[in-house]
Each structure stands twice: as C-alpha cells, then as structure tokens.
C-alpha cells in the first residue's frame, strides 16, 4: 500500500467501516452473508481500487449490489452465490487462504484468474461494480457523488439555470 492509498483509506475507509463493518453479525446485508460480502469486497476493490479517491467498497458499491440482489438483480442471486464460492475455492487452492485474507498483490493475481476462468461471473461483478461506483447515489453506491466529483463534475449539479444564465466561455 502506498502512502497515498493509506491516507485515502484512512480518510474514506473510516466512514465505510463505521457503516458497513462495525458489527460482524447477520443483518448488515440484505442478501449477502458476511463472508460473501468480504469476498465480494475483495473483488470489487480490485476493479475500482483506492487511490486519491475511494475504492468501490468504500464508495458503497457493496450496498448497491446487495440491495439490488433483493430487487432488480434477484435473477443474479445464484450467479453471486456460486461465483463467490468458486472464487474462494480458487483462492484456497492457490494460496491456501480465502480471497479476503490475501495481500493486495495476491488478490490482484486472483482477480485476473477469475476474469480468465470465470468470465461470465467476472463480467457480471465488473458491470455491477461500475454501475454502483459511477451511477446515481440514490441506489447506495457512489456515496455522496464521490465518483462524479472525482471526474470534475459539479455535485450537486447546478439547478434551475436557463440559457439566459449561460455565457460563452464562462464554463457554466
């Protein structure tokens, strides 16, 4: 972990821990078990890792996915259940530990392996991670519009402006 990542995790992860990981018992998630959530977080956080801006799980992507697995993505429940189990099995087979317990470099290797060997599952998690990270905060991901601010977009966006407020070159 670079110093930069450490600072980011310190700043952003604190909030995530307070919300997501305080009490390691059932009830934090609507669909996922705690073990599944840890494994999924390990994969999501390689898809969108932390740097100056938070990682996927720090921005609420797990909340997004978990919530949708009880709603619009109910049809993907089996894919998650089986895919996460296989991912952990692969990890134990290769490194002797489950995915969440690996160090960062090993996780990166494992996620590359999942992309190769379980492409359908990986594509599903990748799509859902990017939706959660870059989509609307209303669904539990992209907490406080953090990815939009990362891209330099005004958040909250200016409201009520009309063409009469627009001036050429004003950037507004």
């Amino acid at each position: 972990m670079t110093r930069r990542q450490f600072v980011a995790v310190g700043a952003m992860g604190g909030a995530a821990f307070a919300i997501g990981c305080k009490a390691p018992k059932q009830g934090n998630w609507r669909f996922l078990s705690e073990d599944q959530a840890r494994t999924l977080a390990a994969i999501c956080d390689r898809i969108v890792p932390a740097d100056d801006f938070p990682s996927a799980s720090q921005a609420g992507v797990l909340t997004y996915i978990d919530r949708q697995l009880t709603r619009h993505y109910r049809r993907h429940r089996d894919a998650y259940r089986d895919g996460l189990a296989r991912a952990n099995a692969m990890s134990i087979n290769r490194f002797g530990r489950d995915l969440a317990g690996l160090v960062s470099e090993q996780q990166l290797q494992m996620v590359s392996a999942i992309e190769q060997e379980e492409p359908k599952f990986f594509d599903l998690v990748r799509s859902h991670t990017l939706e959660g990270y870059y989509g609307s905060p209303r669904h539990g991901g992209n907490r406080d519009g953090v990815s939009w601010r990362m891209l330099g977009l005004a958040e909250p966006p200016p409201l009520g402006r009309t063409q009469y407020g627009l001036r050429k070159g004003s950037g507004e």
Binding site: R46, I47, H72, E131, Y134, R138, L151, T162, Q163, G171
Partner: protein, 550 residues
Amino acid sequence: MKRVNAVIVGAGAAGGIVAKELSVAGLGVVLLERGKWYTANDCRKDDLRNQRTTVLGNAFGPEDEGNPRVWVDAKGMPHTVLPSEGAYQNDAACVGGGTLSYGAQAWRYLPQDFRMRSTYGAPPGSSLEDWPISYDDLEPFYEKAEYEIGISGDYSATPFHGPRHRPLPMPPLPPGREFEILEPAAKRLGLHPFHIPMARNSVPYNGRGPCMRCRWCCGFACEVDAKNGSQNTVIPTALATGNCDLRTECMVKEILTDDRGRARGVSYFDANGRLQEQPSDLVVVSGCATESARLLLNSRSRLFPDGLGNRHDQVGRHLQGHHYTGAIGFFDFDTYDDVGPGATIAISDYNHGAPGLCGGGMLANEFIRLPIHTVDRLPTSTPRWGLGHKQAMRDWHKRSIVIIGPTQQIPTAEGRVTLDPAVRDKWGMPVVRISGNVHPHTFEIGDVQAKHAEAWLKEAGAVKTALMAGKPETVSAGQHQAGTCRMGIDPQSSVVNRSCQIHDVDNVFVIDSSVHVTNGGFNPALTIMAVAYFASEALVRNWKGTGFRS
C-alpha cells in the same frame, strides 16, 4: 359501455395526435394507454433506471415483470428477453410513449427517403420500396407538427432538406462547446453543419419555459417540462375538448369484429385486470411497430383466422429501426461543458448520393454523457478494470466526443414480428417474437458512415479515435422501430392504404411508425407525427357520422 366514435390504442407520438385531431373535429374518442401518465415530477434523474440506461429497468415502462418477449437469434434459437434488455427492442409504455423521455430530435425525412426503390433499385434479398405518399404530400403536416408540438432549430446552413414553407417556430439553443469544436472542422471538410431540430423549447413556447440545459436529457422525462411530446401538447388539447376520455393502465386484448368483417370495438384489461369491452365505430391502432403488429395478429376470428389485416401474411414484416454507427474521438483538451442536451450539431451531407451505396444517414454529435456511459467508451488500450481504468475515466470523461448517426436500414421481409407460440404475458396473451435481420448492405453503408464520423473527429483535433460500427444479429428496432404494417397501394404487399386504413377492414386504421415503408436516415418521431396529422385529416374528411364515404 357506451359506444363511442373512435377507440385509439396507444397514447404515444401518433395516438396523441389522432386523439386531438378527432376530438377537435367533434368525434367522441376513447384513448387507451397500457402505461401510466407521468409528469415532470416523475423525472428521477436516475442514471441506472431510465429509458436509455436500463440496467435497473425502464423508468417509463414496460416493467420487467410480466412483459416478456422472444428474440430468435441468427442460429434460429429463441431466447426469452426482458423489457430492460436490448434484444427486446423496447419503446416506452406510458402517456406520451417515447416522446416523454426521448432526446427529442425532430427531423423531416428527405424527399428521396420516400422514394428509395425508385432512387436505388431494391438490392437482391431486400424489400426496399417506395412510399405511396411523397414528401410534398407530408410537407404541410410536417409544418403542422413543428408548430403544434414545438420544434427549435435552424436548417439555414444546410442545403440538404426538402422544400419548406415556414422556418421552425423556435431558434436553436445557444451552441455548446462540442458545437464550437465540430462546426469549423466540418466546414473545413466542405460539409454543411447545422443546428439539430429538436422538440424542445429554446424559448418559452406553448405556455412552458425553455430548456435549462441539464445533464439528464435523452432517456429522461424533462424536469422543467421543456421537452415537447404528445403528453404535454396534443393530449391535453384533446382532453380539453371534452370529447376525449383517456384511460391509462389499460391493455388492449383484441379488436372485435362483427359477422360482416367490420370492427365493432375492442376488448381490454383495465387497471384492475378486469376484461372490458369498448364498442366503437372505428378503431385506430397506434401502439408502435412491434405492439401494433401484435394486436392485429392477436385479433383472430372466423373471418380473419391469421389476424386482422393479415390476409396476405404482411403484418409484422419489414420490421426496421436504425443501424447506428459512428466513432468516438479523444482530445487533449476539455470538450465537455456539462451543458445539455449535448447533441447540437448535425450534417445531412451523407444521407444520399454516395456511389455504390443505397442511402446513408444523418450524423450528429451524441447527447450529453453521464459517467456510466463512459465506462465502456474509453480508448481501446484501456484496461477493463483496476487503477488503469479508473485513471482513464478521469483522463477521458471530459475529453471525448461521439459522432454517431442512424443509418437508414435496408428492410427485408424476414425481419419481422410474429406471435410466440408458447410465451404469454401477465394478461395471458401471446407475446411478440422478433426474428430476422436487416439486409447486409445496411452494414456496408453503416461502415462507411462510421469512417465519415471518424474523419470529422480527426479534423476537429482528436488525438485518438475508435470506430463504433457493430453488426448486430438482430434488427435494431428499439425506440425507432417501424415498418410492420406497411403502407401501400397493392393489398397483396402492404397492410394499409395511403390513409393508413387497413385494406381489408375500412373502419380499422394503423397510424404510427408501423406504416413506414422505409425509415429515413433520421430519428423518426416527427415523421410519425406528420403521418398522424396526414392520416387524421383524411379520416376526418371521410367521416360521415357513423361510417365512411369511400
């Protein structure tokens, strides 16, 4: 139920106009809509659930629950698909139809677009044909649509348009940054760039204010009601006459016919799922190309064993939309200004006349993009995930321009809607089954269009470009769907006559994009509207109390 003069099935672009024209002329009308009536207050600005990005479903219908379709792939394998999936070829199901949430490009087709077979000859294996009406027939009705619905824009910089009698009623919006980058580049290439005509208030019009230029445009209901569709123009006018009864969440089951083979009304499931019968003197089908065909095919009786209007197996054929191709360019300066609607500049230089190609299409810059649109629109060397992907999002989200356009499809008789023999919807009715593809020549035209788009981006200073020109294994019908109840003179090769009246049954009309013989190289909404005004005028003119002068 009390008998009325007309039942109109579907309150979209066409159905709303027919309802207005008939009720203003004094006919008693029932307007049935399967979806709900949303307003500007229903603009959720939800990046993941709208009519364009549908990963969490369609914001304005239909719902994924209980509304399946079947798509038959190139190998002949059927797949059950959901409304939020691309292969479903969805069009919104609500009052206003697609016009509630569309990007609102409001194009007139070109005169040649109505004479495609005469202009090019039909490529072998295609069903390319001329319309039985011309641009000149439609011109007054294009104008009526432009003024009643409310269109902004400016055609003066391009010679590529048909004759017009009046300018558009509203000026274009002030140009955005992409316009300022792309306009001089197009001119250097000898092209004729101009302001896209839009069903969008640029100034106060029709009692509503102008566009506030937000980031959530195409696919969303407009927060300030500055986008003009049938739901905020003609339908309120129809209701104000007192002659029009709009019933929402009503799904029509079939058109009922009598022993003499004339329509006597419709049966429908109301909002509570109860089957109702609405008797009427005439029936207008305006459910969009896929659903209008389905309703006719589902309206079977002793006299019409294969469905209404389908004596010659024409209903559902020639399904088409647009084959979208173009290119994305990446720049070493900011191109993004966060000012909607984003799509502002177009060229029609490549719609017709390229040697060896049967047509082409308009090219325009893309609507304003949300971050979720960018995740898979990054330079081809970008990793699909990880820090490299995250960095590329930061590098390119504000530094890319997409130029894309609707290549006019060369239709085939095999691109079609039929009824699935097994799958039923939540009302127990057979669902749409979509099969076939466009003619391969469509892809050849699309590839050339993509290269034109790329050349324009390079001239504008793009440091990297990538072509966007796939070859989907399905007709790309979607929101631009058309062609399933072809308009024609010969009853053996078409479904309706030039007044949109079914050849077989003089009191049933199909008035929507289904009747389009070909679909132009432009977004079809304004043509759907113009045809609706044209057909309504004929209908009212020939109406004699309870029957037709014919």
